[in-house]
Amino acid sequence: MKGLAQKLGIAVLGATFAYSASTAKAAAPEYGGNLNIVVGSKIPSYDGHIESTFGMIHPIRPFYSLLIRENPDNPASPTDFVCDLCVGDVPKGTEGGTKYTFKIRTGVKFHDGTPLTSADIKATFDKIVNPPEGVASSRKAYFKMVESITTPDAETLVFKLKHPSGTFIPSVAMPFNFVYSKKDLDTHGFKWHQKNINGSGAFSFVEHVQGSHVKGKKYASYHHKGRPYLDSYTALAAPKMSVRLQAIRGGRADIEFRGFPPKARDDLVKALGDKIKVQESDWNCVLLATPNHEVKPFDDPRVRRALTLSIDRMSGSKYLSNIAIVKTPGGIVFPSHPMATPMSELQANIAGYGKDINASRAEAKKLLQEAGQSGLKFTFLNRGVDQPYKIVGTWLLGQWKKAGMKVDQVVKPTTPFYASLRKKGDFDVSVDFNCQSIVNPLADVSKFLPSAGNNYANFEDAELENIYNAMLKAETQDEQKPLLRKYEKRVLNDLASQAITLWWYKINPHRSYVKGWKIAPSHYLNQSLDNVWIDAAEKKRQGVN
């Protein structure tokens, strides 16, 4: 009996060791394989400096490097940045936070063989920060604090700022800041990268077949030694969500990086069980209801306040999160960031966040009555995209109806929608969004400034501008926080210039043999693919070729 127990003990111990060894082996990254991604949007151009869509980022980002980036092993953190083309840690500001000196990696080469130096990074940021006349730069406004960019030598890059700024480093880390070769910019001009690719990223460009796919192959001289793990990747174009879903379900694709609604996740998990892994995260994206202050009666703050008071964000969070990619109630700052206002403060100080929705709606009705707008009728402009625009839009109509308002909805495809929102201004109240990549609270909330190019509420408010300017010049978070609270209260409560609905929630179900990729709070982040690998044995077990 004793012998049997001994044998059993040895067997259990052996099995434990064997299991540990096998899991340890499985956890070690493997080389090889092709990653199939499905992408739900078109590629307007290859130029990261002018584009803002995931349709470009997902297939094109792996071809390029950045000066610094979010930590690919900890992308959930909104404050953890690491060097990509620089060496060591991300530099701290010197000279009172007005000087940032980056030491640049040596031995890095572009895919065409040209060596990469600090001059290339300077040329890149010159294009982004101070583009020549007629050259577009979508993120120029993020670098208003930059006074000069200099290169004392081939391995050093210096940013001199006009004043200390907490938004600088997050702005540099934005995934759209692809580093281009100075030679390409000098030789071919500033628009060459819209149709051509020459980066120093983990993968080099193979082909782009319009409407079908983009293909990249492993770049052997990639500067992060030992990476990438994959031999290649293929970004398949699939505009319809059902097609993307079925592609993963059928093993035609391994992963989709933007995110699926909860129902799709549940269906995939139900169908594939342990063959699917699901990663979820709060998302640095929020839908707004933006009233047009130039259209009566939305010039009246009481009417705008009634709009936000009628929205039951708590119940919306509970129920809409079952059918749409939204979940978290919050203020104007990404709710998971340390600078965000806690819910208890929002409930106490901001209209529309109270715990008693019936009282809020009664107040909304009273305000409408005082403004002579009982039974207010208006048209809500929405974008013809299901997730989450049309779902949140329909929910909003129901919320306003419960406060006695009669709202019709006009849904327009993306191009005419933007034409109405940006150029024509022919709307009463419109859906709008604030989607950012790197969580950068001070920069992100510039959306609510009357002078911001992307604020479509059409109003002016000097006090809001003053608070924002003071906030930009505040050096520490402790100084910035009270100003940010004041700014938020002015936007959401006093002016009720825009109403926050719900923050998005990112759900990424992917085949469980896809390893190494970690979800970030934005669908623009962690897309270099240099840390992604495929568990070949698991893939074989799943019967996927």
Binding site: M241, S242, P261, K263, A264, D266, D267, S315, K318, Y319, N322, I323, N382, G384, D386, K390, I391, G393, T394, W395, L397, G398, K401, D408, Q409, V410, V411, K412, P413, P416
Partner: protein
Amino acid sequence: MATSELPTGEFVLPKQKTIWDNLLRMLRRQPLGSAGAIVIIVMAFAAVFAETIAPFDPELENFEYMLSPPGTVHEDTGKVFYFGTDSFGRDQLSRMIYGARTALLVGFTASFCGAFLGLILGVASAYFGGYIDLVLQRVCDVFMAFPLIIMALAIVSIFGTGVEMVIIAITIPFIPNCARVVRSSALALKGLPYIDAARSVGYGHVRIIMRHMVPNVMAPFLIMLTAFVGQAILTEASLSYLGMGVQEPTAAWGLMLQGGAEEYAESAPWVPIWPGVAITLAVFGFNLFGDAVRDVLDPKLRSQT
């Protein structure tokens, strides 16, 4: 002298036919058309009395009951969600009933407008002939070169979505279709002596067209009209399904299908099934009825069949 005797007894008049007799006769002669008519009557009843017969407000969101299966009871009101609820917790049955109103509104308005304008254009084209006929028919050729749904999609893409725009988008492609059919009948009328007689007594063009030609092309017109209603309902549902038609929160069958077909076909099949059945039945009903009308109004076709 032989005398003939008058028949004795009471003279019996043939029995007056009642509505029921006529209905039974129609059922016997046109059983499929009658089935179509019944579907249309049920639809029309639902559309007209929607406020009375719908158990819930079709736009009322009850998130506590989202995606509830058919037969679920609303705890506060005791009312039953006979057809279940959608992802917003709205009653499917109520939305189906109100959806009939949207379908008929779009179907009838687009059909009447399209067929009527086509009637006028077709008869005028035949009556005037020459360059007017040539130009009008080439314009018709251009419009008819595109399938109905493509043309409707192009129109809503340009002018926007919503019930009114959908009606316009469906009406426009109907006009040349009706004009072409009516013109062929009107061409035959144009050469008849009574038209020449009307001209010779000095009647104006409008009078000749409206009083002497239009009434005589009513058979093809009515056939086209009934055929159009089913097509219009199907096109409206298609546009709404593609997100280019009627918009939320309006109850419309195509929209209901769009909101459920992809995501809930497996887990909550009642979401796409009911509107799918309604669209199928409505189109089937109008097509059967249209065929029956054609059989009754077109003697040539009747003899062939």
